[in-house]
Amino acid sequence: MATSITINGKAHDIDVEGDMPLLWFLRDNLEFTGTKYGCGAGLCGACTVHVDGVATRSCITPVASLAGKSITTIEGLSQNGDHPLQKAWLNNKVPQCGYCQAGQIMNAASLLATNASPSSDEIDNAMQGNICRCGTYQRIKKAISEAAPELYKEV
């Protein structure tokens, strides 16, 4: 059994209790603090990362279950903060306090990876698990719509 996971392209040994959720392995052991704690129960989306490209709530995913898998966090989404979603987030001045935005962006990136031009309803469905208490939803939605064609233009 593999005892390491790949995070943003780099292998890390799983040297903690296997039931520890990925969130705390990232934050406390590796000190990748871009992934946030919001609820600890998969209810708010602040902790969203990609597991083999798919949006996953790291706060309820035991790290042992991820052995051999490839994880991407907000720190590894792009080389220079230039993922089309990150650019669209800046262009639309989305963040207020910004705390939930890493999770929002990671969740949206997972959506766009499988859907080149999501409809309004599809965005609603995909993003309903990510809470923003400051209320930036209108801009999040606009930024996702704006980023979709950019992402597919680049590929």
Partner: protein, 725 residues
């Protein structure tokens, strides 16, 4: 206000790595910043600093706390504009807790109101000193030079000198007594759309919040508190928790008997958060619940209704309400209620504290750093100034992080284990043992004459007040907590307000918009109900109430309220509302709070019990706008918070304890419910006023009015659609 050249005084010794250049200190009398009018001058005590380095970088230090409201962008922009600084060369630094910044407590939507003018004047002073420096270099008169975008230009020769080249020379120039401010037409940043200064770091996950603080040797703590306010620990069985690998200690936290102090609890310290949280569940704690174990919000709300539907204690009286009611054509009455709310910022309460023998350092998101210094100073028996507080970005606060019990607790733990400790409250602890917006009831009776004029207004309110934090024996909200009722710009001539019995059984604390939430709801909804009773169009009817207010001191308030409301209605298609589909409706409301005016027109579609908010037109009049984008964002956010509280969020207590536990049963608004929000800003040259809070109040009444227009159903209890718990 004083502007002082402190370039040679090492004021930024600890804050800035770079020395040299020009440093300007801006000091306000402490009382002015705290909101107290005073003529007494204070000693020199700068509240903000501008540091222009020799390489041209401009650092602006601001002591106000940033929690997403945008103050750390808006105030520096005012400085940079007057200074003619290049915004791309400006960086903004959050000031640590330090008395040199004056009162840093950030709340009440007051930062812009109190600091806009001084910040501009400081920027203008810096610019004049830079021009004087260039004139000296060129041996010409200052009159022959001007500044433009980080450069001083010699009008005679067209030579240029960059701000960096001039910084140290400018440091030797006298500070102008009354620097000339720009005219509105000359503004480069004020009133424009500016991006938040730190948004690049946010989208890359690089911005660190209170909860992200890391350092060598850091230990992690989780905490639980007595579920009932005033309760205490009877016994704790620690053995199972202590047996767990990675657990360092289990610590009982004492109650701090200060208004925002920790209520006491039990904490587990471990090598990481997960272990601490797991070990916490293995503690077997028996609590002595105390007298508040009787608290049941369902019953309590019903009791509040009874307390406002009978005579209560007089707060303010003018004219003769009884007489007005007797001679009226009709008297209309309604009772409005609302539940407790939890701030629930996305970043839970968290802090790092390291208590050492001769130092105490704190890293935390806080709206009130000086209070941390005071309380920890008392606890540790040290001078407040010996407690160093590093203020981090807050991942939302909404009033919660004004109360820093989560810092007190970390200090107790750190002192005990002699190591730096990060304490993170779980979401459940945040919901269950927080400070809550008041549960409330209001009863209004008003009289109408034959022409539909409002001739009398009786307004009773009952709610456990914030004052109960300071005086738990309070049986009802003190009269001054009802001040906003008497001073509402409706200004009805025959008026009486009363405060009903409402003893607090939990901690009540400022929540974004505070009492304006329920005052706005009652005034805005009742005005619409009165209009229907009088058989009049709501917009015309409300404007008529304002027109009837002859108090000369309230003319500005009535004019600006009317204008905002009328504009919101027009933008929403109010005058064509009869053409809407049968199940759609528009509701309007305006509320004046925190010196700003916000009106909303909400369009809804109602299908059975389902309320869908389609569109919100929001008008703000807050005087001169600093950052159009920041103001717009605050209103979009206010709609979301207004929608959460109007429709779905409510904290319920049973047997003294909170029933809710996480976002599944405290259902804040999510993205699919987001309406289209259009923000309209009133052009104004008046002094700027704040926007963090005023947007929240008008949403719920506008929604109630819209739902009534669409369905004939009137909602008077907030939230309209509570979860069954």
């Amino acid at each position: 206000m004083t502007i002082t050249n402190v370039s040679r005084r090492n004021f930024l010794k600890t804050a800035s790595a770079v020395s040299g250049g020009l440093v300007i200190g801006i000091s306000l009398p402490v009382d002015a910043l705290a909101g107290i009018e005073s003529e007494a001058d204070s000693t020199f005590n700068p509240n903000a600093f501008i540091h222009l380095t020799d390489n041209g970088d401009t650092l602006i230090y601001c002591g106000r706390c940033e929690m997403g409201q945008g103050i750390s962008t808006a105030l520096p922009a005012a400085v940079a504009d007057e200074m003619e600084a290049d915004w791309t060369r400006v960086s903004v630094k959050q000031g640590d807790a330090d008395e040199k910044y004056g009162p840093q407590a950030t709340g009440g939507s007051a930062s812009i109101r109190r600091m806009y003018q001084p910040m501009r004047e400081a920027g203008a002073a810096a610019k004049e000193m830079l021009i004087a420096a260039a004139a000296k270099v060129w041996k010409v008169s200052s009159k022959d030079c001007y500044a433009e975008n980080h450069t001083v230009i010699n009008n005679l020769t067209k030579q240029k000198l960059g701000y960096g080249q001039l910084a140290s020379i400018a440091a030797n120039m006298p500070v102008p007594k009354s620097p000339k401010l720009k005219s509105k037409a000359e503004f480069r940043y004020i009133g424009k759309e500016l991006a938040r200064h730190n948004q690049g770091d946010i989208v890359e996950g690089k911005l660190t919040y209170g909860v992200d603080t890391k350092m060598p040797g850091l230990k992690y703590a989780a905490i639980t508190h007595c579920p009932v306010l005033g309760g205490s620990i009877k016994s704790v069985e620690k053995a199972d928790a202590l047996k767990m690998k990675g657990v360092i200690d289990v610590i009982e936290i004492p109650r701090f008997n200060v208004p925002f102090g920790t209520i006491g609890g039990v904490a587990v310290v471990a090598d990481n958060n997960w272990t601490a949280q797991q070990a916490l569940k293995k503690l077997n704690i028996e609590w002595e619940l105390g007298e508040n174990k009787i608290y049941d919000t369902k019953q309590y709300k019903q009791q509040l209704v009874k307390n406002v539907e009978k005579d209560a204690l007089l707060a303010v009286e003018r004219g003769d309400v009884t007489k007005a009611f007797k001679s009226a054509k009709s008297v209309v009455a309604a009772t409005y209620t609302g539940g407790h709310l939890s701030h629930s910022p996305m970043e839970p309460n968290a802090s790092v504290v390291w208590v050492q023998k001769d130092s105490c350092e704190v890293w935390a998101a806080t709206q009130s750093p000086a209070d941390i210094q005071k309380v920890l100073g008392q606890y540790l028996k040290r001078e407040p100034t010996d407690v160093i507080v590093h203020v981090t970005m807050a991942g939302g606060a909404f009033g919660r992080k004004f109360k820093c019990d989560y810092v007190h607790e970390a200090a107790v733990i750190s002192e005990k284990i002699n190591a730096p400790v990060q304490l993170t409250w779980s979401r459940e602890e945040d919901l269950r043992t927080g400070f809550y917006h008041s549960i409330n009831a209001q009863h209004i009776e008003a009289s109408l004459d034959d022409e539909g004029n409002v001739t009398g207004w009786l307004h009773r309110a009952a709610f456990p007040s914030i004052g109960s934090l300071f005086d738990p024996s309070l049986e009802r909200a003190p009269a001054n907590s009802l001040e906003a009722i008497a001073s509402h710009p409706f200004g009805i001539e025959n008026f009486r307000s009363e405060t009903g019995e409402a003893k607090a059984h939990t901690r009540i604390g400022w929540y974004r918009a505070v009492y304006a939430i329920f005052y706005g709801f009652a005034f805005g909804t009742f005005a619409d109900e009165l209009a229907h009773k009088a058989g009049k169009d709501s917009l015309a009817f409300i404007n008529q109430i304002y027109d009837n207010n002859k108090d000369p001191e309230q003319q500005e308030q009535t004019m600006r309220s009317k204008h905002a409301l009328t504009l919101a209605a027009e933008k929403s298609g109010w005058h064509n509302k009869d053409k809407l589909p049968e199940n759609q409706g528009i509701g309007i409301a305006v509320h004046y709070s925190f010196k700003s005016y916000v009106a909303m027109a909400v369009k809804v579609e109602v299908n059975g019990d389902d309320i869908k908010v389609l569109n919100v037109d929001c008008v703000i009049d807050c005087g001169q706008i600093l950052n159009v984008d920041g103001a717009t964002a605050q209103m979009e956010g206010a709609v979301v918070m207004g929608m959460s509280l109007a429709l779905s969020t409510e904290v319920n207590f049973k047997n003294g304890a909170v029933v809710n536990s996480n976002f599944h049963d405290y259902p804040v608004m999510r993205l699919p419910d987001m309406p289209n929000v259009n923000v309209h800003i009133v052009e104004s040259d008046k002094s700027p006023t704040g926007l963090g809070e005023p947007g929240v109040a008008p949403f719920a009444p506008a929604l109630s009015n819209a739902v009534f227009a669409a369905s004939g159903r009137r909602y008077r209890d907030i939230p309209f659609k509570p979860l069954a718990v």
